[in-house]
Assembly symmetry: C2
């Protein structure tokens, strides 16, 4: 038995949509009482940190309906059924930026919001970028704009909240640590 396991007594699927599925579970708590858990099922996602030969980072600006405002983020997307995260990462990189990359470098993975959702986010660094002649086309309801920023510029975007999401903030902090290491070594 897993620590503090909450056994499912009953499951109800409230909504099964294009992106999320909402399920409400009645659970048995470790003390024998029962409670309800609201669970968002999500296919998982990737974020890609594309680094140009000039050491700039390619970002994507898009409108985020849940926030009712645009955000600047690293290219990202949902896993298709049974797709390996690295395959998703290459596909999204090409669709959103028009570039292919050399071997991707895995950075980390994390659950974005484990209290209510099972979305697992995989992060990769992509360099050795080359423009694709006929890039794959992304979703037809996605309107995006590309930005190339230096790390210093990106940190400014974090300061003024134009960059303001978990994967992108993590990515920038991670690139900062790489730069610190370079400075330490130099």
């Amino acid at each position: 038995m897993k620590k503090f396991e909450e056994k499912t007594i009953q499951t109800e699927t409230i909504y099964d949509g294009k992106v999320v599925k909402l399920q409400v579970d009645e659970v048995m708590l470790p003390d024998g009482n029962t409670s309800k858990r609201e669970l968002i099922k999500h296919p998982g996602a990737v974020g890609v940190i594309p680094i140009t030969p000039e050491q700039k980072i390619i970002f994507v600006e898009q409108y985020r309906k849940p926030l009712e405002k645009p955000l600047v983020e690293i290219p990202a997307g949902k896993l298709e059924d049974g797709e390996k995260p690295e395959v998703t990462a290459r596909r999204e990189l090409e669709e959103e930026t028009g570039y292919t990359a050399g071997p991707l470098e895995f950075v980390t993975s994390f659950y974005t919001s484990p209290g209510f959702a099972d979305e697992l986010m995989y992060l990769y660094i992509a360099d050795g970028l080359e423009p694709v002649k006929d890039p794959a086309i992304g979703d037809d309801d996605e309107f995006i704009e590309l930005l190339e920023l230096t790390l210093e510029e990106a940190k400014q975007y974090v300061q003024n909240n134009r960059i303001h999401d978990a994967k992108t903030n993590y990515a920038i902090l991670y690139l900062e640590t790489l730069e610190m290491c370079v400075q330490k070594g130099g």
Copy 2:
């Protein structure tokens, strides 16, 4: 008009629960076509990084039903109606660890999953910890266990995925950067 704004044509509330509200919006895209957006409304949350006088970090282990397994995380919790994030942070710190802190230090904030949810996460560092005589009691359906780990130990937990969520992974990377600065300065 905001860049790439998606104007709401129609809103339908599918579910209004204890933690999340699910809403499906029909939107007008920038090109005049329409699409549907599935939106999770969430009150927002805080994460607190409690540092003991011995420079250990206090973590909380709890079962995460969406993942069907326990995770080790920094103490965290949802904002109550109209509550300032710093107030939530102090409340959750006391409820989950039994400590109060000196002035909290704001680290950053980020949307956890802006593609489908509006949850905004605020991160704080808490030091100057003092045990509370009669700590406030948390939710009665929360079963948690405390762990005190060094930063090196926490990095091991990240390696083996016992620590595996956005706020906690970010917190550990952030503490690493502080330590790097100390090493650089020393």
